[in-house]
């Protein structure tokens, strides 16, 4: 092989090697960081392992919100109108968190079936419904088209 061909081949091999290593790393990192999404029914029926991190989405059950007077503890239930899951959260709820509206929470579920949220996302606009909540309600057979509430995630 001529020297300049050899050099070209060297560069191509170098790039190919670099690319395959990085694709491998990307896929590895991705499988490590996927958060699955579950509906309240799936969680209530025990389809999720205790301690596994995931997202849950549904409506905030009317009259379920209890916030402590002397701490940041809040407790509410999220529902797809078939099953409800109690959620425990310590912190400040988003601006648009309200009973009867959709939320998405990220965290783990304990043995007693209580969901411990590390993050609660609420809708950011009246007109939109997050895909997660819509999917949860669809799965439970609730008519989302005529449901008045909706949400999006407050991420920028």
């Amino acid at each position: 092989m001529k020297p300049h061909r050899q050099k070209k081949l060297g560069i191509i091999l170098f790039i190919a090697l670099g690319l395959s290593v990085s694709v491998g790393l990307i896929l590895y990192a991705m499988t490590q960081n996927i958060n699955l999404f579950y509906t309240p029914t799936q969680v209530a029926l025990g389809e999720v392992d205790v301690g596994q991190r995931f997202r849950i989405g549904g409506m905030v059950k009317e009259g379920s919100l209890v916030s402590a007077d002397d701490s940041l503890q809040v407790r509410f239930e999220t529902t797809d109108y078939v099953h409800a899951v109690p959620i425990q959260y310590e912190g400040i709820l988003p601006d648009l968190f309200r009973e009867g509206q959709g939320i998405v929470a990220e965290g783990t579920v304990d043995v007693a079936g209580v969901f411990h949220a590390s993050r609660v996302l609420a809708k950011h606009d009246e007109n939109y419904m997050s895909q997660e909540v819509k999917a949860a309600l669809d799965a439970a057979g609730v008519d989302t088209e005529n449901h008045p509430t909706a949400l999006v995630q407050p991420e920028s």
Binding site: K7, G18, L19, I34, L72, L93, S156
Partner: protein
């Protein structure tokens, strides 16, 4: 009647852009000077009519014409005037009109500042941009007409601008981001024009470089503004969330960064031509992808506009045609793009290639992480999300390697550099950087952290190698001042942008690991400590704003007993929509930000709240300003101007040839 004039003006712009997208390109192919000379006036015409159209829409917003659908949906009679005007881009239709208007603005700029280029080339560039205009305006007319009326009964008042958008950031972030985004269409058009003509030479790279630099600089500022706005408006102290709508601008920016480096090699050395063209296509595709993601209803977030599937399909069509078409053309022309010169394995060419590979891999990983959940959902119907740890895991190591090369690259020589020379140049600097990285954070923060050490060491590495490089370059000159004056403007641009990287690195490293926050419930008179800062809650009082009511709390802030400016966070309820909103209070500083967000009021006047201390966070945006400044300075290098003077004579000759045909 007036909104219909806007609509009419939009249709006229459409007709003109059809002419612009066809005649000059055909003229260039057939060497018809008359047809080619139509490119500039047509570009100006499209600009004027799109300007008229957007002006009329702005007038409808200013005068509260709620018979226009998007005015009714996005504005309200109580809104202050500056938000009424900017509510124009608070929704899908208006923002797309702004996007297209920006494109025509870039077109006008190209037609004015292209006197140095041959007329065939200019007409091809403007022609390609004209084709894009056709697609965009057709999209508006067919699926998202901004002048749609509500007949026969318009509402008495509008339903208000999304309260999260009623902020200064909303006035500046979208136009800047769009301008940067659309600027890459220009670079794309240059690449396509070069492919069409089959002449990819150093001249093409020289013509594109200033445009690529400016587009990149504006995009840098646009992204930084978005990050800054999200930081203070959304109120959870983050400056980057790896959200699916933040990512496409970043992808475009990474491709753009690779592009401006690769263009340098193509201009100076005549190599990497096909790679540079490919990057121009990729950067442009990134900008279209951003539009597609936010407008197709694929995801829901603050940025996502109403979800109408036909729009998604239409944009996907534009995306497919533009990307597919340009890649096809690329494949046909690729054999023409032969490198003129060779280069050694250790050379500036290879260092810049490494820069490109790293940036492209970074862009690809962001792309995968962004699209994977959407593809996964389409295939399996299961919903997943990919969290920030994924992006950090990939991104941080790539950027560290990139910065290591950033130090060596400018010092190396074109064609071939001896490894021994490079080693002798940088060995001491590497050790010095490491020492600075370990010692400096300890002195300032009294705390050891790997992140601080790595980021400070890398920043020191950039600054030290830069100092060494400048010293080397002016070593043979009579005096330092003379030496500094002899360096070209583009060199200063590059170094300014690289200093920006160093500043940003320090900001990211320190703010990521030394930030602290605490959520508490305080009654009036109580206080909370965070680090050496103390925040005393004095109480809250109700007040009334122009279109909202709210509570304003007062906090006395002190550090080690010395009092600092008081902070007044607010909690508002907007009257038109009834939506609550938190206005945090920030005490911004060069070395740290303090800020407070209010939660909710408890019985007895207590409030829940979160207090934050964010060291060095401003440096992230300061770094972006330096980068953008560097990109702009480099675009004004003498050699681009010299070219203009030389070529203007040639232009006159061509115009002379045109006169007889035209009369």
């Amino acid at each position: 009647m007036i909104p219909e004039l806007g609509q009419f003006s939009l249709i006229l712009a459409f007709c003109l852009s059809i002419l612009l997208g066809t005649l000059p390109i055909i003229g260039a192919a057939r060497n018809n000077v008359l047809w080619m000379s139509l490119a500039r006036p047509l570009a100006a015409g499209v600009f004027v009519f799109l300007g008229l159209s957007i002006g009329i829409l702005a007038y409808a917003f200013a005068t509260d014409d709620f018979s226009v659908q998007i005015v009714a949906a996005q504005s309200n009679s109580l809104l202050p005037m500056h938000y009424k005007l900017t509510a124009l881009w608070g929704g899908h239709e208006g923002s797309f009109l702004l996007w297209t208007f920006m494109l025509s603005g870039w077109m006008l700029a190209v037609s004015i500042y292209s006197k140095s280029m041959p007329i065939e080339f200019v007409s091809r560039v403007l022609g390609v941009l004209g084709v894009l205009c056709v697609a965009y305006i057709l999209f508006m007319l067919a699926t998202s007409n901004p002048f749609m009326r509500i007949v026969p009964l318009p509402p008495a008042d509008g339903s208000d601008l999304n309260t999260a958008l009623q902020d200064f950031g909303f006035i500046v972030h979208p136009p800047t981001l769009y301008m940067g985004y659309v600027g890459f269409s220009v670079v794309f058009a240059f690449a396509i024009a070069a492919l069409l003509s089959g002449r990819l030479d150093a001249a093409w790279a020289r013509w594109s470089r200033p445009w690529a630099n400016i587009a990149w600089a504006v995009l840098t500022i646009g992204i930084a503004l978005g990050s800054w706005w999200a930081y203070y408006e959304l109120g959870w102290g983050g400056w980057w969330a790896w959200d699916p709508v933040e990512n496409p601008p970043l992808i475009t920016w990474l491709f753009g960064t690779a592009l401006i480096h690769s263009l340098a090699v193509t201009e100076k050395r005549g190599v990497f031509k096909s790679w540079t063209v490919l990057l121009a296509i990729l950067a442009f595709s990134g900008s279209l992808l951003g539009t597609f993601i936010t407008r197709s209803g694929l995801l829901t977030s603050v940025h996502a506009f109403a979800t109408d599937p036909t729009r998604g399909v239409f944009i996907l069509g534009i995306l497919g045609l533009a990307v597919g078409g340009s890649l096809l053309l690329y494949a046909f022309r690729a054999p023409l793009m032969k490198s003129e010169f060779g280069f050694g394995l250790v050379s500036r060419e290879v260092f810049l290639l490494t820069n490109n590979v790293l940036l492209v891999v970074a862009a690809a990983s962001v792309f995968l992480g962004t699209l994977f959940p959407m593809v996964y959902q389409a295939l399996t119907d299961d919903l997943i999300s990919i969290g920030p740890p994924y992006f950090n895991f990939i991104f941080v190591p790539l950027m560290i390697i990139l910065v290591l090369f950033l130090g060596v690259g400018p010092m190396s020589r074109w064609k071939r550099t001896s490894t021994a020379y490079l080693f002798q140049q940088v060995a001491k600097l590497a050790i010095a950087s490491l020492v600075i990285g370990v010692v400096l954070p300890l002195l300032v923060l009294f705390e050891f952290s790997l992140a601080a050490t790595v980021s400070v060491a890398l920043a020191a590495w950039i600054v030290l190698t830069m100092g060494k490089d400048i010293a080397n370059k002016i070593a043979n000159k009579d005096s330092v001042a003379k030496g500094l004056r002899s360096l070209p403007l583009s060199y200063y641009g590059m170094q300014t942008a690289h200093i920006g990287v160093a500043i940003m690195l320090i900001g990211i490293g320190l703010t990521s690991y030394f930030s602290s926050e605490r959520s508490v419930l305080l009654n009036p008179g109580e206080s909370v400590e965070l680090g050496s800062y103390s925040f005393q809650f004095e109480g809250s009082e109700a007040f009334r704003g122009p279109n909202y009511i709210g509570d304003r709390a007062t906090f006395l802030v002190s550090r080690n007993g010395n009092s600092l400016p008081s902070l007044y966070p607010e909690r508002r309820i907007y009257l038109a929509s009834g939506t609550p909103s938190t206005e945090m209070a920030i005490d911004a500083g060069f070395l740290r930000d303090l800020f407070i967000t209010l939660g909710e009021e408890k019985e007895g006047g207590g409030w829940t709240m979160t207090v934050y201390v964010k060291p060095f966070i401003r440096w992230i945006w300061l770094g972006s300003i330096f980068m953008a400044l560097g990109g702009t300075v480099a675009a004004f290098d003498k050699r681009y101007r010299r070219l203009r003077q030389r070529k203007s004579a040639q232009e006159k000759e061509q115009l002379g040839a045109l006169q007889p045909t035209a009369t």
